[in-house]
Amino acid sequence: MENKVIYEKDLNLEATELRLGLPGTKKPEKQAPPSLKTSNKRPLPDMNEESGSGNNSSVSDDGKSHRETAPAPKAQVVGWPPVRSYRKSCFQPKKTEAEEGRTYLKVSMDGAPYLRKIDLKVYNGYPELLKALEEMFKFSVGQYSEREGYNGSEYAPTYEDKDGDWMLVGDVPWNMFISSCKRLRIMKGSEARGLGCFL
């Protein structure tokens, strides 16, 4: 069933791909110095659509070829948009809520066509949260161990913290987690298994 989802994603590549520049034209290749990677290099073509790096990711550090598949938001470019880094700390999940006490976060899952939102405050701990995610996205998360992450599953629940880093869910105490978690992403496949070498 998952294969079917990926297949469909492939077909819809052009239609759903978020683009920069004029529609109907090729993605504008504004500059092509040798040091920048173009988005033609994609180790895992069917995995990348979800991470949205389908457009140029002209990141300044070219040393990491796996940058294309890194679980970063689209167009995560150093220094863009030009906001002072100290401002980033102002952008907590709860700021999007007018009322106090709710912490709605976006949850995405690789291969799923749309995102969900959950309120972290509703859960008392990791077991509850993971169970809710499993039910929401119809998958199983496997067994967590500190050393190896999530065993026995193709999926790994990850979250983006205040500093913009992607972390494995479950490593830090629950309270620390809910105060630093900005969004969740359920990673899939070899990306998920290889998580250890990213961290």
């Binding site: 504004k30 300044s60 938001p73 150093v78 863009w80 030009p82 002072r84 880094s85 401002r87 007018a98």
Partner: protein, 581 residues
């Protein structure tokens, strides 16, 4: 031929001339005026700390009391300048410690200041009064403790946006009980808990305290006491966070705010609970400056607040204000001069608020004195830009950031060349411009032909070819600072306009197409420029000469190459074209 009148008289006349450019003009009249002027100059502004050495500055101006220094290039604010690049304050302060025992003021921007440097300031300048460190780093609260303990006449301590190694909040207690001269304190960037009792006592014994900007860690229930001790405050910055709403805290706070009858500028309000905002209403009419860029206040409350600030001249706010809020602003705040709208979710992929180009158009129509704009949004059109330009030909600062790169006019899907062209054409006094969106070389043609007063230009992800850069360098007569990232500009334009670079303070280019060969050539031919190549990936000699450099920083200087470069920065000098190591 003798003087028409004695030196002392000329000196007295000169004491009324403050502006640097006027003083520079005076010093060019003749040798004796040059000499008299340099002996009585008290303030020095050095826009690039590497453009001149401390020794040269001291030799020319032996009697300075106030110095301003700027270090890193502006793009350091966005993490484009590597961490150890430079901008060290210590050599300057050490030289001043010997030459200017009576130095009173130091204003540093984007510099690295060590605790040792702070210690020198504390111990060597007997009458030190003003320390401003804007967006600096490299020091800790220990350094601040030394300042507090030793600077008896300190009036102003401002750490805006600096990164401080926050060891402990106890440094504030180092101000002795006999110290009463504080007039301005800005410690918003400190995060550790300060001893609140020490702060209260300090505020209580400094009757001239006019500016108090605190970190958000000051809890709301302690604020009323603080305000009651300083009803003379003109500027206040404080978080207003609290866990619950207390009725008597509310009335205490309302009373304290009302007591500050002279309050004109307000900032902070991080974590403010909306139900506390009405405590501010009584002072709104007196406010001239409101900085809500850290405050998570939503549109309805923002409208209520802003509508009461009829005398507002400056507003910094998050895009929660939305178009409707900006409409309200345009109707209520007719004295508005400066508007900055920051993104609440800059890295989000869809808009989270309803803020578009319309908000800016409204304000441009409704606020006749608006001259300075910084606006983050997610869409723009040529027609909106043209309207803004026609509404506000008095714009002097226009910085537009369309969050997604390469975004065209959302209506016509054309580039935004014509819109920005209208801005430079109509706003004849435009001094500062930042562009964004989809832009071709055409926009630079407009800028080159109309931007005659333009002093600072920031470009990112724009243009098609060297022609773009050439238009700017050849056309913008007043250009002082040019910063460019990710644009397809290369060798031709740079080399053709090499002489122009000596008339500017600096040029930054990163992720462009300037080859190492061109850098070497430029360095060789222009001895009065420092052509610095920044290459963190390895020495540029290890790649072919025609490969582009990662980052390039060119600035004019009378001091030659600097000696404090880190391992990944090289200055191209007259020997570099010859050597190939």
């Amino acid at each position: 031929m003798g003087y028409s009148f004695p030196e002392e008289v000329l000196e007295h006349v000169l004491s009324f001339i403050d502006s640097d450019s006027d003083r520079n003009s005076v010093s060019l009249v003749c040798k004796s005026w040059h000499d008299i002027e340099r002996w009585c100059r008290r303030r020095l502004f050095v826009g690039n700390c590497y453009a001149v050495s401390p020794a040269i500055a001291i030799r020319r101006f032996p009697e300075l009391r106030s110095v301003s220094l700027k270090g890193k290039p502006h793009f350091a604010d966005f993490n484009l300048v590597p961490h150890e690049w430079g901008g060290y304050a210590y050599p300057w302060i050490a030289a001043f410690a010997k030459a200017y025992p009576w130095l009173e003021e130091l204003r540093l921007k984007r510099m690295v200041v060590s605790d040792e440097a702070l210690e020198l300031i504390a111990k060597k300048f007997k009458n030190f009064r003003v320390l401003v460190m804007y967006s600096c780093e490299g020091f800790s609260t220990d350094g601040l403790a030394t300042i507090a303990a030793n600077c008896r006449n300190l009036k102003e301590l401002d750490l805006s946006e600096s990164e401080v190694d926050d060891v402990s909040g106890n440094w504030l207690s180092q101000f002795p009980d006999s110290y009463t001269s504080l007039e301005s304190l800005n410690i918003t960037s400190l995060s550790s808990e300060i001893r609140f009792s020490a702060l209260e006592r300090l505020v209580g014994r400094c009757p001239n305290l006019k500016t108090l900007k605190l970190s958000h860690s000051v809890p709301l229930d302690l604020l009323p006491n603080l305000l009651q001790k300083a009803p003379q405050l003109v500027e206040l910055g404080s978080g207003l966070h609290t866990k619950e709403v207390h009725p008597d805290l509310y009335s205490k706070l309302a009373g304290a705010f009302s007591g500050c009858k002279g309050l004109k500028r307000l900032c902070g309000l991080q974590d403010v609970v909306p139900s506390y905002l009405p405590t501010l209403y009584p002072i709104c009419v007196g406010l001239t400056s409101l900085n809500l860029s850290d405050a998570p206040i939503q549109c309805p409350e923002l409208i209520k607040l802003v509508s009461q600030c009829q005398n507002l001249q400056r507003l910094w706010v998050l895009d929660y204000i939305e178009d409707t809020g900006l409409n309200a602003l345009a109707e209520s705040c007719k004295d508005l001069r400066e508007l900055r709208v920051f993104p609440s979710d800059p890295f989000g992929q869809e808009p989270n608020v309803s803020l578009t180009e319309q908000g800016l158009v409204s304000v441009s129509a409704g606020c006749p004195k608006l001259h300075s704009v910084l606006y983050f949004c997610r869409r723009m059109s040529n027609v909106a830009l043209s309207t803004i330009a026609r509404n506000r030909p008095n714009l002097t600062h226009f910085r537009l950031c369309i969050i997604e790169r390469f975004r065209p006019d959302y209506i016509t899907l054309e580039p935004l060349d014509v819109g920005f062209g209208a801005i430079v054409e109509h706003c004849k006094d435009l001094k500062r411009l930042s562009l964004s969106g989809l832009l071709t070389d055409r926009v630079f043609e407009y800028i080159g032909s109309h931007g005659k007063k333009l002093e600072m230009l920031s470009l990112a992800f724009a243009g098609d070819s060297d022609l773009g850069l050439h238009h700017v360098l050849s056309g913008c007569k007043s250009l002082r600072k040019l910063e460019i990232r990710d644009c397809p500009f290369g060798d031709k334009a740079l080399l053709a306009n090499a002489a122009k670079l000596e008339t500017m303070r600096s040029l930054w280019m990163s992720a462009c197409q300037v080859s190492y060969r061109a850098c070497k050539l430029l360095g060789q031919k222009m001895p009065r420029l420092n052509v610095e190549v920044i290459a963190e990936q390895g020495h540029p000699d290890s790649s072919p000469d025609e490969y582009p450099v990662e980052k390039l920083y060119i600035y004019r200087t009378v001091s030659g190459p600097r000696s404090d470069m880190p391992s990944f920065v090289w200055t191209m000098d007259k020997n570099s074209a010859l050597s190939s190591s």
